[in-house]
Symmetry: C2
Subunit: 217 residues, 2 copies
């Protein structure tokens, strides 16, 4: 499955939950397409691909869609993550309410600096030495990387070896996930990395802003 379609699924679901909260029960490919800025045909294709069928004239059942999308996104399992690096960005994420509202739980934070370690807060922060054990024991599969540039690859390696398979990387290095080593390069990726570089995003915005001011092209 395509990366874009998975992102659309999350967006459909958020929208559907809001529609449901408003008391709606059915929705048309039309409505979802408008909201996401895509054609209704694409919405139908997505659902068709997911084996969700609608009703020839009544559209799709919102409940069924939500249920089905949650299945696909694995929302019926606990979504436990850890955050590595409890500096500015890392601790903001740990305290961010937006995650728990979507069923995502930050199980713990980790930091190499002793002064960041704390077992008293709502979410404990452990020293880095404990990370491997924690990942294995709690069977954690997804982690946020919020460490400085020079530590990122090391931290990635450690976590990757301990069993983390999904990384949300806020460090300034672009991490690429290693392939399965046993198949000498031909294997499918062992993990998934999602790099978010805030400076890149902002530079990107400035580019467009400058475009607008400059050439009328």
């Amino acid at each position: 499955m395509n990366k874009e379609i998975v992102l659309r699924l999350s967006k459909y679901k958020r929208l559907l939950q809001k529609l449901k909260a408003l008391g709606l029960e059915k929705v048309f490919s039309n409505n979802l397409g408008d909201a996401l800025g895509v054609t209704p045909a694409l919405v139908r294709k997505d659902f068709s691909f997911l084996k969700i069928s609608g009703n020839k004239r009544g559209g799709y059942s919102i409940d069924e869609l939500i249920q089905e999308i949650d299945d696909i996104l694995g929302k019926h399992h606990p979504l436990d993550i850890i955050v590595v690096g409890c500096g500015k960005i890392g601790s903001a994420l740990m305290q961010y309410n937006g995650l728990s509202r979507d069923g995502i739980t930050v199980a713990a934070g980790f930091d190499i600096r002793p002064e960041k370690v704390s077992y008293t807060g709502e979410i404990p922060v452990f020293p880095m030495e404990n990370i491997e054990k924690f990942i294995r024991e709690k069977n954690i599969k997804v982690a946020v990387i919020a460490v400085p540039e020079n530590a990122a690859t090391d931290v990635y390696e450690i976590m990757s070896n301990a069993g983390i398979r999904g990384f949300l990387n806020f460090s300034t290095v672009d991490l690429k996930c290693s392939k399965s080593p046993d198949k000498d390069g031909a294997g499918k990726p062992e993990c998934m990395v999602n790099n978010i570089n805030l400076a890149v995003e902002i530079e990107n915005l400035f580019y467009y802003v400058n475009q607008r001011n400059g050439e009328t092209e």
Copy 2:
């Protein structure tokens, strides 16, 4: 110009700066392609498109590439932004060093809550009433939105009217930029919005992680 190519430009540049710091002077399309995970042909096409030419056997001059990319990304103008919403995410961004390292300056923060307002810190936090005046006077064009869901569209409207043209949106609503109203829908977008939904990103990771465990397909 394509959105993807602009992102690649930022990535090329970061890489080039590191290579330069190591003392290198020339680089081949080959090297850049490897690092970014694209083919060398695409790298050459990007540069060709930017009117940067290399040397038939000596590759590209790192200095020239950096200079040229900075030109295109508008890095010779000041990159001043504001942050609206000084909660967890917002204040983390304001204090984040990664931005200033790339020449991006947070000129001010804004918050509707009086207790967040402060003129003593390194970056002042003003009350929301002042935002329009500030944007106009300082000619700010790019803003980060880090407010709760219910405030996002209002805040977006206010800033859009005051002159902001590039938005990095961390709120949980997907903002879509409005088109120029004078051309009844046919005009080019008036602004650019970059939505980052952290919960969506993490859900996305869980999807791939679950895939790996499940079907061997």
